[in-house]
């Protein structure tokens, strides 16, 4: 599959064209990842702009596909931005989870959107790490279109 082919070497060029090409290919996906963490569209767009400057994508390690690299970088950028925002506006922190959240959804929210490690989540919820990973897997299965 072309989307997961390791081509991150192209990101190391100082030319801005590779970043724009990546944006054309994965911009919507990165925006979707950022929106998961920062639901405000204008703020998410700020993070997206910040993400696709070439220097921020240079951090992609060799052997990682562009898509995986962008998902991880988008999440990292969004979490950084969110923590900065929370430092400025402590009340804006999104910690309210409804009781109706399913366990996979809750674990996904805590891990992906809140940036908690699986170890901490497992301890807090009284689960094994393997169970937490399985829960995330089950949540990702719900992404599949019927």
């Amino acid at each position: 599959m072309s989307t997961l082919r390791p081509t991150s070497k192209s990101l190391r060029k100082t030319n801005n064209e590779p970043a724009l090409l990546l944006y054309d290919k994965y911009g919507a996906m990165a925006y979707g990842v950022i929106l998961q963490i920062i639901p405000q569209e204008e703020l998410a767009q700020e993070v997206l702009v910040e993400l696709f400057n070439t220097s921020s994508l240079i951090n992609c390690t060799e052997g990682l596909s562009d898509a995986i690299c962008i998902i991880r970088n988008a999440r990292t950028k969004a979490l950084e931005f969110k923590s900065r925002l929370n430092a400025l506006l402590p009340n804006s922190e999104d910690t309210n989870h409804s009781d109706s959240d399913s366990l996979p959804n809750l674990i996904f929210n805590l891990a992906f959107k809140q940036g908690l490690s699986l170890d901490i989540i497992a301890v807090k919820l009284g689960l094994s790490k393997e169970a937490a990973m399985k829960a995330i897997s089950n949540h990702v299965k719900s992404f599949r279109k019927p």
């Binding site: 599959m1 989307t3 997961l4 100082t14 801005n16 970043a19 724009l20 944006y23 054309d24 994965y26 911009g27 919507a28 996906m29 990165a30 925006y31 979707g32 990842v33 929106l35 998961q36 767009q45 997206l48 702009v49 696709f52 400057n53 070439t54 220097s55 052997g63 596909s65 898509a67 995986i68 998902i71 991880r72 999440r75 990292t76 891990a111 992906f112 490690s117 699986l118 393997e130 990973m133 399985k134 829960a135 995330i136 897997s137 089950n138 990702v140 992404f143 599949r144 279109k145």
Partner: protein, 156 residues
């Protein structure tokens, strides 16, 4: 762990989403090299996640901003590179030369050049015309005076 169990453990999801620890990442990369079915599962998962997160399209202005942002940052990078290399060469001792500016030249806008040329050419045309009409008028006056004298002579 056999590849099927490994795929079903949820490790690939955590790997793609960046939730896996460093050790887990290394482990996944080893499995990817050894088992093609794990690679295929990862590719499939990549498609699913890409499709799920690509539901929202960012506005076109974002692309333009990225383009402009990169352009500016590259300029800054070039500038930093130049200053960095200059700093390295002049690191030992920074010397300043005192320069007294005694430039008597006047710097004007480039459009003044054709304006000056046009004014010069026009001034020459007007000068030639002035001289031409001056001499013409002078000769006509002399002729007029001569004719008046002749008329007076004829009257007498």
């Amino acid at each position: 762990m056999n590849p099927k169990e490994y795929i079903e453990s949820g490790i690939l999801e955590t790997y793609i989403l960046g939730l896996a620890s460093d050790n887990q990442q290394e482990e996944v990369e080893k499995y990817l090299q050894i088992f093609p079915e794990v690679s295929l599962a990862l590719e499939d998962l990549g498609k699913v996640i890409n499709g799920h997160f690509s539901a929202s399209i960012p506005p076109p202005s974002v692309r333009q901003r990225i383009k402009e942002f990169d352009h500016d940052s590259l300029k800054k990078w070039d500038f930093n590179e130049q200053t960095h290399s200059q700093n390295n060469t002049q690191k030992e001792e920074v010397k300043y030369l005192e320069v007294e500016v005694s430039d008597t030249h006047l710097r004007v806008h480039k459009y003044w050049r054709p304006a000056f040329i046009a004014i010069f050419i026009l001034s020459k045309i007007f000068l030639a015309a002035a001289l031409y009409f001056y001499f013409k008028s002078d000769s006509l006056n002399k002729e007029n005076l001569k004719l008046q004298q002749e008329i007076e002579l004829l009257k007498k």
